[in-house]
Amino acid sequence: MAVDAEAQFHVLAVDDSLLDRKLIERLLKTSSFQVTTVDSGSKALEVLGLKEDQTSTPALSPEHNEIEVNLVITDYCMPGMTGYDLLKKIKESSSLKDIPVVIMSSENVPSRINRCLEEGAEEFFLKPVQLSDMRRLRPHILKGKHKEQQLHQEENSNTNHIIISSSNNNNMSNKRKAMDEEVLSERTRLRFSSSSLNVI
């Protein structure tokens, strides 16, 4: 299973319950992730290098930032900043918006799930989170990485194509287009795949 299987990804877990933090940390470590846990949305933003009232990180380039986070998994119900608020902040930030976010909740509330998915959450896990749920994380991280790679290729080859559409006839862009479509349709599938929902 080549390179990706070896890569250790870093997950930031956010939950106000100490017990649940212990649990998610163990689940993630058992699944070979590097883990940082914090007990609030505001602490999460600090780790990500963003102050609560900023929309972009102050550093000159992403590489200069604190630790690289490949995925954020957060509880929904938290005092102060909820998981939804945190999700919004991340998606509104130019430097953080491509980090996949997963929401966890002990309650199966369709409108809540919908809201989160619409705001850009990759998935919604019902608590208590299981070991088998951890397998669903890696694909989201890898997808993000592909997109990142494509963006870099774009920048390097000095074209002014936007990533979504391409009308070139060379091999590179055809491959890229096929991958884009795959990524897009996968994204759509996953958006509406949560648990037992029937979302349009």
């Binding site: 319950s17 017990l19 689940l27 058992t30 608590k127 208590p128």
Partner: protein, 149 residues
């Protein structure tokens, strides 16, 4: 007692807890997460759960003792307790919390008081078995490390 006998005792205890509905499958998940790299995981989680729960039961008792009950605060604590009992696999405690939440939503003081008593009853039954479990775990761990020497 031999290591095998200790393990057997622990198994019998845990199985009886499953049969009685004190524990549900979530507890099995916890056991699965314990391994060589994290040998004290279950004990750690159980201990955390007990500390957390007792703190919340104390707060809940205080809140319901007031002349005018702040149901929002009560609900917040019950929600927390329900969450941690669910995370640990403490089935009966979780079920009692769900009942409690109902009464809370109805602002029913009598109902809340009786629900609190039920939660306490379930919690303390579980607690005494957890204590035995922890003691057995400790002896097993100690035995294991002795054997290695």
């Amino acid at each position: 007692m031999s290591l095998m006998a200790l393990r057997e005792q622990l198994n019998v205890l845990v199985n009886s807890m499953f049969l009685e509905g004190l524990l549900d499958q979530q507890f099995r998940q916890l056991q699965m997460l314990q391994d060589a790299s994290s040998p004290g995981f279950v004990a750690e989680v159980i201990t955390l759960f007990c500390e957390d729960s007792e703190r919340m039961l104390t707060e809940l008792t205080k809140l319901l003792d007031q002349a005018v009950v702040d149901y929002q605060k009560v609900d917040a604590y019950v929600h927390q307790l329900k969450g941690s009992s669910s995370s640990v696999g403490a089935q009966n405690v979780k079920l009692a919390c769900i009942q409690f939440k109902q009464f809370c939503e109805e602002n029913n003081k009598e109902g809340c008081l009786s629900a609190l008593n039920m939660v306490k009853h379930q919690y303390y039954s579980l607690r005494s078995k957890f204590d035995t479990m922890l003691q057995l775990e400790q002896r097993i761990q100690a035995y294991g490390s002795e054997q290695q020497n």
